[in-house]
């Protein structure tokens, strides 16, 4: 703003919101939270964790993966932003992984669940 001086705190917020550079997506904050700060983007979900050996082994191939693809089902259906589809564990099939203690060894024991 060159021609208007923000005098009170509300004017500062109006000016910020009216700034053409302003990204309105960042406005979504809790009502009673502190004023938003410029902050780095923090990704959520499984991308927070670097799990080497999922997509490629140290040679760039898939022969020596350190984690079996079967593990994905657990890594992806819990905290992942792109969740794997799994049975309804709250109501319908609470015990569908009961026999699977370690995915690498026991993945064959995961129940098949039919609706």
């Amino acid at each position: 703003m060159k021609h208007l001086r923000s005098v009170n705190r509300k004017a500062q917020r109006v000016a910020r919101a009216a700034d053409p550079q302003h990204d309105p997506l960042n406005d979504v904050v809790a009502l009673q939270g502190p004023p938003p700060q410029a902050a780095p983007h923090i990704p959520l979900g499984c991308t927070l964790i670097f799990s080497p050996g999922w997509e490629a082994d140290h040679n760039g191939g898939t022969a020596g993966l350190c984690q079996p693809v079967e593990r994905d089902i657990f890594d992806c259906h819990e905290g992942c932003f792109w969740p794997a589809q799994v049975p309804d564990q709250l109501n319908h099939a609470p015990d569908w992984t009961a026999k699977c203690a370690a995915a690498q060894k026991d993945w064959r024991k995961i129940d098949l669940v039919f609706p």
Binding site: L4, R5, K10, R13, P20, L31
Partner: protein, 493 residues
């Protein structure tokens, strides 16, 4: 093609704001955002032109071309459009939807009417006088709150405080100190329960000072109880309405007691709360007496709540006189603030804080939302002024708040439903005014207080000017309002 892109040919006009001058500069108070902007020469010129008639961008630039280059005017128009000080004619401004407070809004302040009895018989009193709502003489309400009800009220308060760490408990009456034993019991119980639930309770009370004894003063000081004294000024004004039942004035009784309190109770600032009537309108004199001669830290003034036909009611012309008086004292406040000196005219300070934050209210106060009043039998009402009134009951301390009644109240009293207020630039701060005042004047809490609109606008204008002047000449003074958390009940009246 969207409406906002067609600005080159369509006409521009003013949106809603209040313009004013301070420290030789031009300012606008935007409505409903409550933002305050200082204008430079070009923005002032644009608003000035558009005030006369609506114009297109080109016409504006052309009309002002002798003074400002076209690019500057273009830039100015864009800025004014963005903050919504101006807009395109025929394109309605995007209206925010009616926003209701979130459900289960936490209770910040509970006002406990520990008694509805009073040892004074102030003629204008809303509890006892001619305009009372609750039958305090022969009604079914107990005259004194029991210790048990006080304890239940404390439990209610802590329950309803939600995640708030601090709950404010204000004692009120009648004359609060007529039930000092229950006040004491409620405080110790509140401390105990608060500690158990990981909260803190802040205590305050309002009193007429007649019953301040040395041991009570000692107790209040030791327990850091915030004290507000109802007093109307020097002897001749105090004794006009604040009288005992035999008609004898109370000044000579209260003045020495208040001085004693002010001498001993130094843990919190103590304020005076003055009721203004048509017969006691000399605000500067009252202020000087209460601060310089008695020693109060601050003084808040409020016109008496009454139906219009009472002789002490402030009539139309009285509000004008009162505004002049307020302005005179406000000028003293400004002078002090410019030199970073304390000035205790709390009406100004409270308004400055609201202006600073840019408060834009959906409701005039926290009544029925963050603030509730509890009557002697444990009924919960909108606020202390309605405590005991069945028509304004929200629940009981035992059964909690009736959420349907509360939501109904909040729906009905929202500023968006006050048609009379929809064109007023002062509505972000006023929001229609006191429910109790409206009830007394118009018999309806949702009615805007139209009898003092001019006074509210005049006073808001004065405070805006003080704020703007401080922002130019002593901006650091305003920083004190940044972090301070304000609670409605710091002064309950």
């Amino acid at each position: 093609m969207s409406g906002s892109m067609s600005g080159a040919t369509s006409e521009l006009g003013l949106r809603e704001f209040h313009s004013f001058q301070a420290a030789g500069k031009d300012f606008v108070y935007l409505v409903p955002s409550a933002a305050v902007f200082e204008l430079d020469d070009s923005s002032a010129a644009v608003l000035n032109r558009l005030g006369a008639r609506s114009l297109s961008r080109q016409d504006l630039a052309q009309q002002l071309s002798a003074v400002f280059p076209a690019s500057e005017i273009d830039e100015t128009i864009s800025e004014l459009l963005r903050v919504r000080a101006i807009g395109e004619i025929g394109v309605p401004e995007k209206q925010a939807a009616k926003v209701m407070p979130p459900e289960n809004f936490p209770l910040t302040t509970m006002v406990l009417n520990v008694t509805n009895q009073c040892n004074l018989s102030c003629t204008y009193c809303y509890e006892y006088g001619e305009d009372k709502i609750v039958d305090t003489e022969n009604g079914k309400k107990p005259k004194f709150m029991s210790e048990e009800t006080a304890r239940e009220s404390v439990d209610f308060m802590l329950r309803e405080a939600g995640d708030n760490k601090i709950a404010h408990l204000t004692f009120f009456g009648g004359e609060t100190l007529m039930n000092f034993p229950v006040l004491k019991a409620a405080m110790s119980y509140a401390r105990e329960r608060a500690a158990a639930t990981g909260k803190q309770v802040d205590f305050s009370l309002t009193t007429n000072a007649t019953l301040l004894r040395p041991d009570i003063i000692e107790f209040l000081a030791e327990n850091r109880v915030g004290v507000t004294i109802s007093i109307d000024g020097p002897k001749e004004m105090q004794d006009q309405f604040r009288v005992f039942s035999n008609g004898k004035g109370s000044y000579d009784i209260v003045a020495p007691k208040i001085k004693e309190l002010l001498k001993r109770h130094r843990s919190r600032p103590i304020g005076a709360r003055v009721t203004l009537t048509s017969q006691t309108l000399d605000i500067r004199k009252i202020y000087r007496h209460l601060t310089e001669e008695i020693g109060f830290w601050d003084v808040g003034f409020a016109p008496v709540t009454t139906s219009p036909n009472r002789e002490y009611a402030i009539a139309e012309t009285g509000f004008d006189a009162m505004l002049e008086q307020f302005r005179g004292l406000a000028a003293d406040f400004l002078e002090a603030a410019l030199e970073n000196r304390h000035h205790g005219f709390s009406n100004v300070k409270d308004t400055l804080e609201e202006i600073h934050k840019g408060v834009s209210k959906a409701y005039p106060c926290g009544a029925g939302l963050g603030l509730m009043g509890v009557s002697t039998d444990g009924d919960v009402a909108l606020c202390h002024r309605f405590a005991g009134s069945d028509a304004h009951k929200l629940g009981t301390v035992r059964d909690g708040i009736d959420r349907l009644v509360q939501i109904g109240f909040l729906e009905k009293h929202h500023i968006d439903d006050k048609t009379d207020c929809s064109q007023c630039w002062a509505r972000p701060l006023c929001s229609g005014g006191c429910y109790h005042e409206a009830h007394t004047r118009y018999g309806e809490t949702a009615h805007p207080n139209l009898h003092y609109c001019e006074w509210i606008r005049g006073w808001t204008d004065t405070c805006l000017k003080i704020y703007a002047e401080l922002s130019v000449r002593n901006p650091r003074y305003l920083e004190q309002f940044d972090e301070k958390v304000d609670y409605e009940a710091s002064q309950v009246s």
